[in-house]
């Protein structure tokens, strides 16, 4: 007890960045608890992944060879087995689409209090664990006290720095027997192909919920034309069917790094920011001065896009 078990994530042969970030988070928590850091790598080329995960601060890596790709039945069984062996105080999983496909099931099975989408945490022996997370679409942050000797956390990507360097963890192979899965992966599909690759554009005019109605899209199309830019969007525009999926910037869409990213009526939810924060220059036009998009923007106009955009078009005509 007082150890931490981190469950790494990989997909289609690649360790995902969040896995190395979890090592940092896990080490911090293990230090606070006074325990060891264990890392689970489940399925796929476990030896290669174990090598990549062997960073300073990792005490032991548990390699579970079982299948190639993510299968929640296997992951849940593996974590259950390893929790039995390691007896950790904390289980840390990524707050990813796959993390949220098994971590809640594992927490439920093992009766661990669960906190998801964790941005940070503090632990001390008297007060126990306090977790930082957001609510109301990132408009507020909260502190959440966790009552329990053990707990399971899913940690948001991009919040901890990735662990670097070469460690000297022991690597142990662990056999896990998982029942036949009732959810069988048949394959993968890349979406968002088609005529335009927004990832290639030097200048993106990106439109969000603030545009209000489908017929208003014309205005931003005109702006994109005037700036010789490519049109992209945040998720709600694609969900509404107003633009095709290949125009979507964000966690579930494309990651873009243009010279100029002009966000029009985009509030800047974390999932969107994940897809565009690497842009050279970010400009935001939004009515809400508190919109998170201004936190990462280089230039901002607090104002109504329906007033500003026509003027901007005129400037370039």
């Amino acid at each position: 007890m007082s150890d931490v078990l981190v469950v790494s994530e990989h997909r289609r042969g690649e360790l995902r960045d969040v896995s190395l970030e979890l090592l940092t988070a896990g080490r911090e928590l293990a230090d606070a608890l006074g325990g060891d850091l264990h890392v689970a790598v489940v399925a796929g080329d476990v030896d290669r992944f174990a090598d990549e995960l062997n960073r300073p601060g990792v005490d032991r890596i548990h390699a579970v060879e079982n299948g190639e790709e993510f299968d929640h039945t296997v992951y849940a069984a593996a974590v259950e087995t390893l929790v039995g062996e390691v007896d950790p105080t904390a289980v840390l999983a990524p707050n990813s689409v796959n993390g949220l496909d098994y971590a809640p099931a594992v927490a439920e099975r093992l009766a661990l209090p669960l906190v998801t989408d964790v941005l940070g945490f503090e632990y001390d022996a008297d007060d126990g664990l306090t977790v930082t997370r957001e609510m109301y679409g990132s408009k507020v942050e909260t502190s959440v006290a966790v009552d329990g000797d053990r707990f399971c956390l899913t940690v948001r990507g991009g919040e901890f720095v990735p662990a670097e360097g070469v460690g000297d963890a022991e690597v142990a192979s662990v056999d896990v027997e998982a029942p036949a899965s009732g959810a069988r992966v048949k394959g993968f599909e890349e979406v968002g192909g088609g005529d335009v690759d927004i990832a290639d554009a030097d200048v993106l005019v990106s439109v969000g919920r603030g545009i209000g109605e489908e017929e208003n899209l014309e205005l931003v199309e005109e702006l994109a034309d005037a700036l010789d830019a490519t049109l992209s969007s945040s998720r709600p525009i694609v969900d509404n069917g107003w633009l095709p999926k290949n125009r979507q910037v964000g966690q579930s869409g494309k990651v873009v790094t243009p010279d100029v990213y002009l966000a029009v009526g985009i509030s800047g939810a974390v999932q969107h920011v994940a897809g565009m924060k690497g842009s050279e220059t970010i400009v935001a036009i939004n009515t809400d001065p508190n919109a998170p998009i201004f936190d990462i923007a280089d230039y901002g106009i607090v104002g109504d896009l329906f007033d500003v955009v026509p003027e901007l078009i005129a400037e370039f005509e």
Binding site: V97, E141, R184, F188, D202, N290, E311
Partner: protein, 262 residues
């Protein structure tokens, strides 16, 4: 087949809001049906229209105020609703496990073949209840579903799970199952006037813990919300001032400096 859809009324904060204690002031919140749940309701109603589902039941954990919102789910085509509330939930920050306690009891009563749940609630954003429920009630599950085809005869749901980075996982899920529904799965309808009228006559069964055979101790949360605050803005953006014309003029200069040209 019977479909149970979990729905939640969520508050969305106004641009300007005050924090009172550990929550946003009620007067600064606009209440609405959780966006993800709107897609889940639509999926259930479409299964009914396709003759696959015989009944679509909406379940919510929420106070009386939530009835108006839940009625929207009925207006869009759900057949009836169950609303669970209890004094035990007042002022408490329900954890995933206590929500699952309630939903498990409702599943025991309703015996659905398929549970549709939004990926997350827009306010608390745990994103975990559906999958935890599946574990508890022994259903299969798939999280973050953005495409769904149900083969009732074969007893499977063929789904796409929306992974990060524009990749979808194609998965065959045995029924009974809990699917957590991502936005974009379908096009949620607007409630028609006829639907709204019909919804007035549909049942919303007010249920408390006792009715479900549960005690307040069963739903005690392991989590306490101890603090809520506005995150410090680390914005170093140059805010361009002036009226729309002036601001656009200055922005045009900036854009030209950055190499944008018509």
């Amino acid at each position: 087949m019977k479909v149970l859809v979990t729905v939640k009324e969520v508050g969305e904060a106004d641009d300007d809001f005050e924090i009172e204690g550990t929550d946003i002031a009620a007067s600064d919140l606009e209440y609405d049906l959780n966006e993800w749940d709107d897609y889940a309701v639509e999926a259930g109603v479409q299964l009914a229209e396709a003759g696959i589902a015989d009944e679509v039941v909406a379940v919510t954990i929420g106070p009386e105020r939530a009835e108006e919102t839940i009625r929207m789910a009925l207006a869009k085509g759900a057949d009836r609703a169950v609303r669970v509330w209890d004094d035990a939930f007042e002022g408490s920050f329900a954890d995933v496990s206590s929500k699952v306690d309630v939903l498990e009891a409702v599943v025991d009563d309703e015996e659905p073949d398929l549970v549709l749940s939004g990926v997350q609630a827009a306010d608390t954003a745990f994103g975990a209840t559906g999958v935890a429920l599946a574990e508890r009630i022994g259903f299969e599950h798939a999280a973050v579903v953005n495409d769904l085809e149900l083969d009732a005869d074969a007893g499977v749901a063929n789904v796409h799970r929306e992974l990060e980075g524009g990749i979808e996982e194609l998965t065959e899920v045995d029924l009974p199952a809990v699917l957590t529904v991502q936005t974009g799965l379908n096009e949620p309808r607007y409630a028609s006037l006829r639907g709204i009228r019909q919804a007035q006559r549909k049942e919303i069964a007010a249920t408390d813990l006792d009715d479900l055979g549960l005690a307040p101790a069963d739903v005690e949360s392991a989590l306490t919300l101890t603090e809520m605050y506005e995150p410090e803005s680390d914005s170093d953006a140059e805010i361009i001032e002036g009226d729309a014309g002036e601001a656009a003029g200055r922005l045009a200069e900036v854009l030209r400096e950055k190499g944008v040209e018509a």
